[in-house]
Amino acid sequence: MALDKVGIAKRIAQELRDGWYVNLGIGIPTLVANYIPEGIEVEFQSENGILGMGPFPFEGEEDADLINAGKQTITARKGASFFDSAMSFAMIRGQHVQLTVLGAMEVSQNGDIANWKIPGKMVKGMGGAMDLVASAENIIVAMLHTNREGESKILRTCSLPLTGVGCVKKVVTELAVLEIKNNKFHLVERAPGVSVEEIIAKTEGDLVVPDVVPEMKF
């Protein structure tokens, strides 16, 4: 069965490694923080100016001055620090952050990503996404395999305005874990109970399928 949003977040959480600083984007990526594997320690950076982001506050303890990049009220963990936006992006551009997880409207087989604009319809802006994808060594995209009309968002080339070029290495969807190498998608894992045929049918880009495709383990 295809994963829900929590399932996608749980699978991405398995990619976390001890000692990493991690930036989580808005939406599904934010949920990753709830499923840190046992025995490892990671610190979350939010680009509006906090390192050491903690869980949501208890009711009545919200502080308007303490939010994450999604504008949600948060808390600061012990050992947290606050800084300005230039310092924050120095951490990002300077590759001091080990992993970036963000959402996408489209990805293509050469690692391009589009997630900020639908011409004539929707313009929210890129926020910090362009800085993040241009600099991060390790980018995981959390997204749905298809749009509401059932069309693939895993493409040969992106049709929407790009956020970054040749930067995505791994994609986790409700159906599969895909790696991007040599200008192709490579099927690495499938969601429990999801057939390889379904993934092939819903992937528009070139997809390399090994003889055996293991199921994700939770």
């Binding site: 509006n48 506050p57 919200e62 009220t73 313009v123 890129m126 956020t163």
Partner: protein, 232 residues
């Protein structure tokens, strides 16, 4: 040097039609809300506003947008604001969207006397159109120019009579860089204290960057996304 002005009216004196303003804040967090409310009253128009976001429909810069006082916005993220989106898509409002890190660094550069810098952010996207490209360490970068403003308006938690500022938590965001990049920088603060009361070791923005400081009359500090956990 005493930078204290009586009130918001005196602080904003000199802001005229067609000027460029920088306004600190991320979302509604750390915005100079007293100054924005007063700008709405003055009916100054044709403004170019440099601010990471454009407020929401009924708060922050959204208030200026509703009265069509803004001609151009330079921002990185403008979701959460239906009127903004409408004015932009209809062409009433000129919008320059730029990556958040580039926006922060362009303000910092403007205040630091650096006319331009190269960044990898935006290479290969529409942000790079018309900009010089160069390869450093095998990687393409684009040239981004510094930003300055006629007035920078920032919000701090505490300030002293010398204009030294301390910010709270993530309300710091763009405020320190914008304070550096204004020809005239106005700081509205929650607490205004005599010089000597703030520990010099913990000043975030030194007073040299601030020309006028005043205590804001009222801080609503609206929360955009109230998210909480339930106590077990």
């Amino acid at each position: 040097m005493n930078k204290v002005v009586k009130n918001v009216e005196e602080a904003l004196r000199g802001i005229e039609d067609g000027m460029t303003l920088m306004l600190g804040g991320f979302g509604l967090c750390g915005i100079p809300e007293n100054s924005i409310a007063h700008l709405v009253k003055t009916e100054v128009k044709g403004l170019t506003c440099i601010s990471n976001n454009a407020g929401v429909d009924d708060f922050g810069l959204g208030l200026l947008l509703h009265k069509k006082q803004i001609k151009k916005m330079i921002s990185s993220y403008v979701g959460e604001n239906a009127e903004f989106e409408r004015q932009m898509l209809s062409g009433e409002l000129i919008v320059d969207l730029i990556p958040q890190g580039s926006l922060a660094e362009r303000c910092r550069a403007g205040g630091a006397g650096i006319p331009a810098f190269f960044t990898p952010a935006g290479y290969g996207t529409e942000v790079a159109e018309g900009k010089e490209m160069r390869i450093f360490n095998g990687k393409p970068h684009i040239l981004e120019e510094a930003l300055t403003a006629d007035f920078a308006i920032v919000k701090a938690w505490k300030g002293d009579t010398e204009g030294n500022l301390v910010f709270k938590a993530t309300a710091r965001n763009f405020n320190p860089m914008m304070a550096m990049a204004g020809k005239i920088t106005i700081a509205e603060v929650e607490e205004l204290v005599p010089a000597g009361e703030l520990d010099p070791n913990f000043i975030h923005t030194p007073g040299i960057f601030v020309q006028r400081i005043f205590k804001g009359e009222k801080f609503e500090k609206r929360i955009e996304q109230r998210t909480v956990r339930i106590k077990n």
